[in-house]
Symmetry: C2
Subunit: 540 residues, 2 copies
């Protein structure tokens, strides 16, 4: 057979050759919506490739993006890997400390930043050791006044570049195409590097009928951010299949998402449960025509049954998926198998809430100290993964060692197989808090609190939250001589704010005389949770 490397540039060629007139709808600010064709996209991506060459971007070099979901970010998704460089998508919600760390750790040499996000990056510039150029992405081509030598405007450099560019075909398919850092449970974020081969195969596998089932006829709106885990691969998959794309841009509201579904005829969308909760609320208050919408894929945290049912009642398939930063990300999808097609509606909704069946290409196993767990819906074990789009290491990180076992990735998730073979996540191996689809590490918060003046001990547990799924509550024992009052509380919040993003802030800081512990001095979190629930007036 012909030796043809699996490169992302081949997706551009396919879209421009076979679907030149298909649409990309891109919202870049509250009142600006761009409409491009795949022919435009290919032209602009080739210009961008020339721009990258002009900025001295070489093979293997890291190029950072700090941006919302829009067409310029899509162009970066393709131009950067297609010239042989690596797109480092930076999570805009990380703390300043973490952003500085990952830009330096990845050694980003060029940063592409949305104008409306530049205020986050600007104060960090003196700390970014490897960045040589910053390119601002905006609609007005105004370069902000900042104390940095090489600032460029995206549209100006594109306009000045040639649209002739032959994407190289001698790139090794195993070489890096992209990278993303996890919101780590402890310590600094860990980097994951995606290869051309992995993303190519992920695009084919996640598009299959029993996965996302994406067709050229679909209009795909990724609500999941392009600044994290490849936006679940949807930008790649959509270009490969020639599907129309709707990119909702910055600070979107539920109302805006519904607007776009209605006006653009969106058939497919994807995001975390909190988004779909708020969209549902909006739709219930002001019903609109969502008849084009066929299916919503949901991941990041578990979906409540009521939410799934509400969407099914609207005629929209609400399908859970499972994945991680480490897995490109799609691992499994809660599609109905032939076995369950005749189940009752209630039983079917239960299965929609599970993490589903692994998609072709991924191997899964759930193991505990007795070996593989049976399909009984009860026996728990740790979920382990293997596959061509599963990472085999963290980028230049000693923590890689504990994350793998015999060539399998340890997910740190405790799961069961239902009797139909669906994966169902039960818990974290550790004690993570899932808020709005993102992880909050209780251990990180505890360590930070305990480093503040006057704090003797601190423990953080999750309480359920109707919108964010879970929110952290901190319990603090003060040292002698410190007063448990509002002033102290605000001082502790101030201390946390210096280290963490605002959404990491505990909803409450409770002062206690002591914390329940095991005989060897570890926090008894189950016990603490009861006390906390009591104090905040919840039933467990």
């Amino acid at each position: 057979m012909m030796q043809i490397p699996m490169l992302l540039s081949s997706f551009i060629t396919r879209a421009e050759t076979h679907f030149p007139h298909k649409k990309i709808v891109s919202r870049t600010s509250p009142d600006i919506i761009h409409r491009l064709t795949y022919a435009d996209f290919a032209d602009r991506t080739r210009r961008l490739a020339n721009v990258l060459d002009g900025l001295g971007v070489e093979r293997g070099m890291k190029v950072g993006s700090f941006a919302w979901n829009h067409h310029r970010h899509l162009e970066l998704y393709f131009a950067v890997p297609s010239v042989g460089a690596v797109l480092h998508m930076i999570n805009i919600r990380l703390s300043p400390e973490h952003i500085i760390h990952i830009v330096n750790h990845a050694e980003d040499e060029v940063l592409f930043v949305d104008d409306n996000l530049f205020s986050i990056i600007e104060p960090l510039i003196p700390e970014l050791k490897t960045v040589r150029h910053i390119v601002i992405m905006s609609d007005d081509s105004v370069i902000p006044n900042a104390n940095f030598e090489s600032m460029h405007d995206y549209e100006t450099v594109l306009a000045n570049a040639s649209s002739e560019y032959e994407f190289p075909t001698d790139i090794d398919e195993n070489s890096a195409a992209g990278m993303c850092y996890t919101s780590a449970t402890t310590g600094m974020p860990k980097g994951v590097v995606y290869s051309h081969r992995g993303l190519y195969l992920h695009s084919f596998a996640s598009g299959l009928v029993d996965s996302f089932g994406i067709s050229e006829r679909d209009v795909v709106m990724p609500v999941v951010p392009m600044f994290h885990v490849n936006a679940w691969g949807l930008p790649f998959t959509s270009v490969l299949f020639g599907s129309s794309q709707v990119l909702p841009g910055p600070n979107f509201t539920p109302e805006l998402l519904i607007d776009l579904i209605e006006s653009e005829g969106v058939t497919f969308t994807a995001g975390v449960p909190t988004v779909w909760l708020s969209v549902l609320k909006e739709q219930e208050e002001k019903p609109r025509d969502l008849s084009s919408l066929d299916r919503v894929f949901v991941g990041g945290s578990a979906s409540p049954r009521g939410l799934i049912k509400a969407y099914q009642d609207l005629g929209v398939k609400y399908i859970s998926i499972y994945g991680m930063t480490e897995t490109s990300p799609v691992v499994s999808v809660s599609r109905y198998t032939s076995e369950v097609e005749n189940y009752s509606e209630e039983e079917k909704i239960d299965l929609r809430a599970t993490q589903g069946i692994p998609i072709p290409g991924v191997q899964t196993k759930i193991v505990n100290e007795h070996g593989h767990v049976p399909w009984d819906g009860e026996t728990m074990g740790e979920l382990m993964l293997r596959g061509p789009w599963i990472t085999d290491e963290y980028y230049k990180d000693a923590r890689s060692e504990e994350a793998f076992e015999d060539g399998w990735l340890r997910t740190g998730d405790i799961a069961v197989y239902t009797k139909e073979g669906y994966i169902k996540i039960m818990d974290r191996v550790g004690d993570l808090i899932k808020s709005g689809g993102e992880w909050i590490s209780s251990v990180d918060l505890e360590n930070a609190l305990m480093s503040l003046e006057g704090v003797y001990e601190a423990a953080v547990v999750a309480v359920p939250h109707p919108k964010w799924q879970e929110r952290p509550i901190a319990s603090v024992v003060l040292k002698d001589g410190y007063e448990a009052n509002e002033e102290t509380k605000q001082r502790l919040y101030d201390g946390l704010r210096e280290r963490f993003a605002s959404w990491w802030m505990p909803d409450e800081i409770l002062f206690m005389d002591e914390l329940p512990k095991t005989s060897v001095g570890k926090f008894l979190k189950a016990e603490l949770r009861k006390i906390v629930f009591d104090q905040v007036g919840m039933k467990q």
Copy 2:
């Protein structure tokens, strides 16, 4: 990302892990139907792997199969490549001379032969220079009396083998998994070698929504033979996705196929147009419940519009595909794109009759002496192909040289792009008729004739002409109940005149009882030309 080779054995693991109870229905003789699960299939395939080891089959060695579509053939499809050897599927319809040639050319060391086909192989045994063992596949475990030392019975050796077998994972994904010889129209058949990588990717790509769209929920019946071009990859794809399979076995009739569709709830089937013509005839005579059948994929030769329409009227999608032995085989599929969804039914049927849009992973171009042809439905050129499941040579064959150009496979097919970008095959390079400096497409004339009332089959060939260089002659087989007379002939001419310019009119319409065809049902034009020359009184 993890370095995991793309091996066919991973499909077995997936099916037995996630879909152990799914069904394989296998007809091995007129009155025997086997029912196995994927758990049974995996167990038997492991036993077969041990049998191959026992017969001294080593990596890279060729193992021939001479068999119909049934579960034992399916086990060979997986066990042989999974131990690192190469399955040479031998077309049972080849001439004895060609069979001898390809077995010797491939250097097959073991042959697996259906008991009901052994009478074809037996007289050839003295000529087969490399074959060391013959394994007979039958239901009664009787080994025929033949003058050959090492004869075995399939079920006996399987029963005696262990079901424990760890498929090796250190096989290079680029190594050979299977091979097949083209039914060449001139000279000896040419061999094509399929790699694990090619077949793995072909399985993912051909299963996509805009290709075959195969789901676990499908019940797949490949009517296209497993002794040719991987049965269009369907055995691999079905195992990968965990779809149920119905394998119709030897000498099936239209009635049997309808029986199986009805009783097994077949949703998906595939084969050449002549099969679907005869199934339609049967269904029209004795209507049955075909409501489970969702779609029929058809290739090998062009389908008449009337046939497509008749299936659509039955509620079955009738979708053309294009492929060759050289291409694993799926290249393009005539699915409707979003652009044509609002076309009239008549326009849509026209597109169903084309070869469609290339599936993801394949690159196509149509070129003539002026370069790439425009999307105008008129400008003809040769179709050229590139992709990871397109061959880059013929096996040990000097004819490889003329078949490729700058890394592209020359298909030898003359095609146009419709204005929607669908590939439409107009003719073979050699079959295009050059009349008075203009091209006449024999395929266009054939399709038009076959859409006229009373026409069962039609083929058009060129005869030399002193003034016009070449002129078309049509050969027509009428349906039962239609008379081969002057009146009919005039009616056919009238029908053609409505669609074509006068200079496209065949100089003669000959009525025949049957048309010469290749082993896979394509018109044998060289043969037909001789017959036509005979009838019109010419010498070739």
